[in-house]
């Protein structure tokens, strides 16, 4: 059986694991480097040694590069925005309410053209080819090579978006077009924002994918490179170049799925404690539960399908203060734990120092925290547990205690039980759960469409969507025996005539590997 390598490129560390089926063979943590390749190549070189390198069948990479680019407003390419919907929608033009620094980065070139649909699929106004040619000329003259196209009600009917995209591609050879019906759901501004972000990452996506492939090559691996998406499935490097925004929340997703594998569970709460924050999510049926509404990325409202994560400012590096009252976090020493924490001879009291003083962890020199008052240590740790318990409670969907899995390098700060949790497990390799999660990402197939129930039954509509989703998963490389349905959603569109229904089917399967 072929081996797999999972990689998590974080802000501070790059983690890599070598997996034999579901077993961790080797793991490594190295500092993340400024360039894409060096850190990853180093990590790959250390987990896949001379004897194993030839047996690696796939490299799965999760990265925060694209999220960070948007959050930090850098490395984004100039992007034009075309909305199809005039004369409707003009009261809220594209990029309304975007932070100025992001608009500055991508340029303020927006166009609202005629077209789009009403809720019942009647056209708002006819598409005007000459109008779109004029827009194309303006984009071409400005030298902009990326465009986001969003049509009103395109999640119900996407033909206009596709037609406009192909016209722009014809008029401006080489332009990169992102269309909204492939990226988001109903909610025009949020879907448009997501599409613009995706388009603005086109150049960076080329660079990153090239860099990742290079790193894999440098490490002597010949296996294909995959990237992990928000929903815990994989996309090829070429697909990632088209949908970089689909990686925005792959970090939390990988950590939740990695925790599931390491603890051997399919339903639980996952608590991931890092240096600065604790991220809490819900594992349901082997996948993270998705957020239902608006998710902000870099100060911009979007409606990406992302895991529902509650983040609180508590981690291993959280600073403990007693004045004016006892607090732990949200300030943290972050990646400088080994310089600033008391157990390493520093002068800052951190959550990790408390854990060492209480005998819950062996890190640094315990003698350096021996002076801490026992009662104080207990009170401080109780405060940490109380805050985590409150956050856990807010992600539950019903009353009663639940099982939880604890992962992450900062997880030493939790010792005993947490209120509201019946069973708390910290599995082996919990500190590389993220990379483990990347390595077990599967391939997916999804169908999301509106069907009319005038000429077919509800059952046959769902059945044909299932068959098509399965086919897409197989085409993406899924092993036939492993393909299973993870989600079937039927949304009756009560306000549409002709008894319409929206069907969304998601299937996943294990990636077939060649050795």
């Amino acid at each position: 059986m072929a081996l797999r390598v999972g990689v998590d490129v974080g802000g501070t560390n790059t983690d890599a694991v070598l997996m034999d089926d579901q077993r961790v063979v080797a793991s490594v943590k190295v500092p993340t480097t400024q360039d894409v390749t060096t850190g990853i190549a180093a990590a790959l070189g250390r987990v896949a040694g001379r004897n194993t390198v030839g047996r690696v069948g796939a490299v799965m990479i999760g990265t925060t590069h694209f999220t960070n680019a948007v959050v930090e407003a850098r490395n984004l390419n100039p992007t034009a925005v075309v909305r199809i919907g005039a004369p409707a929608t003009t009261a809220v033009p594209p990029l309304i309410d975007w932070p100025p620094r992001l608009i500055e980065e991508i340029g303020d070139r927006t166009f609202v053209v005629h077209g789009g649909y009403e809720y019942d699929a009647r056209p708002i106004s006819p598409l005007d080819e000459s109008e779109i040619r004029t827009v194309a000329k303006a984009i071409r003259d400005a030298g902009v090579m990326a465009v986001a196209v969003t049509g009103v009600f395109s999640p119900l009917k996407d033909d206009q978006e596709k037609w406009v995209a192909s016209l722009l591609e014809k008029e401006i050879p080489g332009i990169r077009v992102s269309i909204s019906s492939e990226l988001g759901r109903l909610g025009l501004l949020e879907r448009e924002n997501a599409t613009v972000m995706n388009a603005s990452l086109a150049n960076l996506a080329d660079d990153i994918v090239r860099g990742l492939r290079l790193a894999v090559g440098v490490a002597g691996l010949t296996a294909p490179v995959w990237m992990t998406q928000n929903d815990g499935t994989l996309m090829s490097g070429d697909t990632a170049r088209r949908f970089p925004a689909a990686t925005f929340a792959s970090g939390p997703t990988n950590s939740i799925r990695g925790a599931a594998l390491l603890a051997n569970v399919t339903d639980c709460i996952v608590i991931d404690i890092g240096g600065t924050t604790t991220d809490i999510g819900v594992l349901h049926n082997g996948f993270p539960r998705e957020a239902s509404g608006v998710v902000e990325v870099g100060g911009v409202r979007t409606n990406f399908r992302m895991p529902d994560i509650v983040s609180i400012g508590i981690g291993g590096g959280s600073i403990v203060r007693t004045d004016p009252e006892l607090t732990v976090g949200p300030h943290s020493v972050g990646y400088r734990l080994e310089q600033r924490a008391r157990v390493f001879g520093g002068d800052t009291l951190t959550a990790t120092d408390l854990a060492v003083a209480a005998g819950m962890a062996e890190i640094g020199d315990p003698a350096l925290v021996a002076d801490l008052d026992r009662g104080f240590v207990e009170d401080s740790l109780a405060l940490i547990e109380k805050k985590i318990a409150e956050a856990v409670d807010s992600v539950k969907t019903r009353r009663g205690a639940v099982d939880a899995t604890l992962v992450g390098g900062g997880s030493v700060i939790v010792g005993g039980g947490i209120e509201g949790i019946s069973r708390l497990v910290r599995p082996n390799h919990h500190d590389v759960a993220n990379a483990v999660g990347a390595s077990i990402a599967q391939v997916g197939g999804e169908v999301d469409r509106v069907v009319s129930l005038e000429d077919m039954s509800r059952e046959s509509a769902v059945e044909s969507a299932r068959a098509e989703a399965r086919q897409r998963c197989l085409e993406a490389g899924g092993l036939p025996d492993t393909v299973r349905i993870v989600e079937v959603e039927e949304i009756p569109l009560t306000y549409l005539p002709s008894n319409a229904m929206r069907v969304r089917v998601k299937v996943v399967g294990d990636l077939g590997l060649e050795t």
Partner: protein
Amino acid sequence: MRTIDHGQVRALGLGAALLGSGGGGDPYLGELMARRALADSGPIVVVEPEEVVDDALVVMTGMMGAPTVLVERPPGVLGQLQALRALSGHLGEEATHVTCVEIGGMNSTLPLIAAARTGLPLVDADGMGRAFPELQMVVPTLHGISAGPMAIADDKGNTVIVDADDNRQIEEEARSVCIGMGASAFIALYPMTGAQVKQSMIPGTLSMAQAAGEALLAAKASGVDPIEAVLGQVGGRHVFAGKVVSVSRKTEAGFAKGEFIIEGSGGYFGSEMAIAFQNENLVARHDGRVVVSVPDLISVVDEETGRPITTEEIRYGYRVAVLGIPCDQRWLSPAGLELVGPRYFGYETEYEPIDNGSRRER
């Protein structure tokens, strides 16, 4: 007389969300549009009802339709004045002022756009003192003032004039025109004289919403308890606090109906509150006993920040405070309670006044 500029729209939207008592549509979109219109036009003029001359022509402006459609198909700029113009054309007389149908939710900020684009003064008042789902649910109806003639416009240049003897009939006719126009449309209605405004509108509600929003924003900045700060502006009291432990929903006859249950914490430990909603929160029961009911306002806010939470958003785990805010006393007549009391919405309970002692004088 005073002015409002685009920088003050945020506070107004926030206060309007609170007075929306869980409904009234997402104020975000209304806020965006109003901010933009006022940034273009400069400050708009706001007048008290007392400042309006008796023979003025005052018109309510806003939108009606399905909130879910509106978020996918926001309106065009062109439609924003169409309904008002069509109504003036039909009446053969230009409006002299605009005002608000409701102060809760999105329709509180939309009249600012009409004022910005026409230069007309905005009257600091509304017809409900909160949000309600239907057009006849305004105090002017109790005074025999007709919603018609009413103009409905889309953003493609289409307008329809609706009129009838009865305001509920006008609501029904307008609803079907609105669906034909794409389930979201601009409206201009309740043409009134200045004298009728003074007689029937609830005065000062725009200022109240703005003050409530400003109190929330200021409390956030200065570390004051936001809930106390808000209650100081709108009257009423804190009736419960705790954690949402269940939410049930169903869609029935175009309404998002349901109920959520809050388990008490702090001083309310060991008891629970059930809140029934239809778009808006309508009846709150503390351990089975009705403590707040429509037309009084039931506003559910984040326990820590005071941020208003809509009935669409509410879910398990939210830590909330429940505020009971007295409605305007004009609703408390038998005719008022027949129009908007608990029985109209299908609840077999009598109206239970929240606390007459704290009812705000207006």
